[in-house]
Structure formats: C-alpha cells, structure tokens
Symmetry: C2
Subunit: 253 residues, 2 copies
DNA sequence: CGCTGAGTTGATAATGTTCAAATTTAGTGG
DNA sequence: CCACTAAATTTGAACATTATCAACTCAGCG
C-alpha cells in the first residue's frame, strides 16, 4: 500500500497527480519509516506515534506549509514531493536553508521561539505528515527511543547546517553546485531511487539562493560540468555521467 | 560566591588567574543559571540537574575540550572564558562554527552520530560544566521543563546556524564583521557586561575563519570602521563608539 | 503560434583573495 | 628589565572569482 507515497518522485511529474485522497497511509505501512521518525522504534511504539501524526491533503506547488513568524505548533515529515525552507532577508532577498525530501523532517527551527524561524513551501505537489510538537514531547518522555531519535534528528539538522556553513564559507561555485548534486544523489539512493539520474525539483534561482550564488553563476557551472562530460543537463533533468569526477569537483583544492 | 565564575571576563586577563580550585559552584548559586541550562527550572529541579553536572579543572588557553570524531558523551556549559568550536576541512582549512561564552551550551552536534562533529578549544583560560548526555536524557524524561528547554536550546543552535548561513551567503565583509561585533555586544549585555567595550577573546584569524573571510579582509574592515569613528580598535580591545552606525553597517543594502 | 517566465550566455565591474612586506605585540631567556 | 624572536596584525598592489547588467534562447502553455 504505497499509494500516495512518493507520487512525484519519478521522472515524469509534469502533470499534477490525480490525488486519490488515500489518507489511509500510516507509519507502520509507510515505506519511508526506516529513514523517517519511526526509525529505531518498535512496532507497538510506531503505533503510538502513529496516533499523534496528522495526515492532511496534499500541498499544491507553491503552497506554503508555514511562514516565518507563524506560531509554531508542529514539525513535519515529508511524505512526497519536495519542500523548500527559506528565510527572507531585510532587503527582500531569499536564503534557502534547506530542501526537504520524503522521509525528512522540517520545522524544528520553530521550537526555540515558539514561532517558525523560516518559511516552508512546496516546490511541487507534496504531502506531509504533521506531528504536533506538544504531543511529540509527551510521547518522548515515555518513549526513550523516540526522545533519543528526535534529539538525533535535531542534532543532524545542526551538523547539516554546519556543512552548509563550511560550503558557503570555503568553497568555489563549482564545488558548491557539485556538493548539492551529490547530496541530492545520496538522498535519492537512500530512498531506493537512482543516484545518477533525477529531476531537480528546485529552480536555478532556488539553487542559487541555497548556495549563495546568482542564477547566472549556477547556470554557468551546469554548462561547464556539461562541457566536461561530468553531467548531462537537460533543463531540470540531470544525469551524472561521471560521479567520481563530480566528487573531485566537490572537494577540489 | 561567584568566585571562579567569569574570572576572565574583565578587561585585564593578561595573566592566568590564580585558579582557586573552587569547584564548590553549583547550579543554584551560579549567577549564569538564568541564561544557562537551569533556566525555567524550579529550585528542586535545579538541584536534581546539579547532581548530574560535573565540574572539572579549568582548561588552559589552547587546550581542547573535545575533538572532531571523538566519542560523544556529554554536552558542556561554559562557566568562564570562551570556547571556539570548529571543523577542519579536507584541505586543512578551518571553519569556525561558533564562539561560546559563559552560560552557553556546546557539543550538541555530537548527538546525531554519537561522535563530535566539531572540535572545541579554549581561546583563553576557561572552565566548563560537563553534562553527561545519557543522564540528561534520563532526567529530561521525568522533567518536562528540562526536556522542553533542551529542545529549545538545540533549536536555537539551528536558528543561529541559519543566521550564519544567511550572513555568509548574502553579506559583505563589512556587514559580517559588524554583525559579529553586535552579537558579542548583545551576549555581553546578557551577562551584565559592557555592550560597548570589551576584549575580543578570538584572533583575527578566528574571526576570518568564522565569517568566511581572510585575515587581511577582517583587518581592513576594522581599520575602516575605526577611520569612520564607529569603533575604537586597540588590538583585541574594542570600543563601540557609535552602535547605531554599527547596526547600519550590519544591515546595509 | 505567440507569449511568458526560466534559463543561458557574454561583457564589464566590484569585492575580496593572494602574495609580499612592514609593523606591532607577546613571549622568552638572560 | 631588556634584548631578541616568533607570532599576530596591518597595509599595499596585483589578480581572480563572482556579481551585475543586458541580451538572447528555449520550454511550456494558453
């Protein structure tokens, strides 16, 4: 019963999915459970977790899950599609703080102030599981595995932010783009998808706003890597032709 | 009974403190408790927390608290001095991920992998409280306030990393340096220290490695801000002459 | 089939890096 | 306390990378 899960993960997601309104999905039968919040929980625990998870209807492309400074109530697990988290700077520019794929959790930056520190918007039709934080807290207190795992998820968010910090601080445009592509590749593989061929759900502008580069620079890097036969780029469709070369580009110097 | 707390916070910390080995400090009488881990806990809860906290002898300047890939056992609260957290890139360069002042918690990036994702080193004589994570987890399960507060601390770490990401991605050298100075200023004020006059415990190289700039650029920014009468810079001793102007520099554009 | 927004490409400019050297500060041993 | 040395900081000049501005191309869509 994987209907509704990763509906948009394939190569062809140009048309909105029929949306079967299959909300029967639960954590036990979700094939993302191994990489999502239920990871490391036992069957009975998963059922308990399942009781607090809320599944709502899909988000349309461009729709917001929450906005900066909204009251914080829940964290979210992506079930299908891609969510972009971003902040808007004083002068109106956008800093993308992360792209979230199925099985990944977002919204944890809202805990500290009880208000979201970033906005979250669907880059394509997407569905998410909402996990009310107060329920999660209560459940964590009685489920050590869950508490541990959630601490780990937050910690991972920290280490990933630190990686991005390092990338922005020390790497050239080529290195940044290569690192992003490798990250997408790795995360695809975790979900049993191709590590070498995929469709980027984000625009070049989004990539630039994530990597601290202008669209033009991002575009030039793609062209360059294409010319070097490291990638085959056809609009958003990416094929990694030489992953070793891409790794070399990613940590040149 | 504040002996041993913030011993090095004053203007003159040129000679190592006598180190009275006063480890009698506990959370209840620590004047940092209002901004540190005990925040929001009740007296009896603070006593319980106190029982798991380990206080050891001070770190000398340059000494490591932990190193990247060390086994993760504990998080640490800074009691006195400054701790620099940093990662070393493949090519040997250093990315500073944070400076930690008294009352601040570090080491949370180690939770996700059970090994530290960064190294931590004392920038001056420093002392820390060690909080074994497994004890903290157990205590959190029975003290909702503590669990909540620790989630919030981790979340704050995330939002602060996101701010740094934005700074690195969107800001000029002047803006970055100004933002750092304002951050130091604010955090000093939180500890009842001067918001306008302080000694920077970190070197220009450290600042550069934090802000993604070379030493030369950092130095030039200091000179420029000095010439503009925004700062008075005398080596590590900084006086903010015009904090409004500094704020304008920090969010120019 | 033309329109619109996304993406690409080129030329020029700006910001910060790199390399080199001078200068100041901090530490060490007599 | 002073002389000496190493380390940190500052300053200058040339260079490199990426941003900016502008024009063009392409894909998708009514």
């Amino acid at each position: 019963m994987d209907v509704g899960v990763e509906v948009n993960a394939g190569v062809d997601n140009s048309s909105p999915t029929p949306c079967t309104h299959d909300f029967q999905v639960n954590c036990s039968n979700c094939r993302l459970s191994a990489i999502c919040l239920p990871f490391s929980l036992e069957a009975t625990e998963i059922d308990e977790l399942d009781r607090i998870v809320q599944r709502s209807k899909p988000l349309q492309k461009g729709q917001h899950l929450y906005r900066e400074s909204d009251d914080f109530q829940s964290v979210y697990a992506v079930r299908a599609g891609t969510i972009k988290a971003y902040r808007t700077t004083d002068d109106g520019r956008e800093q993308v703080t992360g792209f979230y794929f199925p099985g990944e959790i977002l919204g944890m930056d809202g805990i500290s102030n009880n208000s979201h520190a970033s906005s979250a918007k669907a880059l394509e039709t997407a569905s998410v599981c909402e996990i009310p934080f107060s329920s999660l807290e209560k459940l964590s207190a009685v489920m050590p595995h869950l508490q541990r795992h959630f601490f780990q998820l937050m910690s991972r968010e920290i280490t990933e932010d630190q990686q991005l910090i390092t990338l922005l601080s020390k790497s050239s445009a080529d290195e940044r783009v290569a690192a992003l592509l490798l990250s997408v590749s790795t995360r695809n593989a975790r979900r049993q998808l191709s590590a070498t061929q995929f469709r980027l759900s984000m625009s070049r502008v989004d990539i630039g706003n994530y990597l601290g580069l202008t669209v033009e620079t991002v575009s030039r890097v793609f062209s360059r890597l294409q010319k070097l036969k490291v990638l085959d780029v056809e609009n958003k469709e990416i094929q990694i032709l030489d992953i070793e070369a891409l790794r070399k580009v990613a940590d040149a110097r």
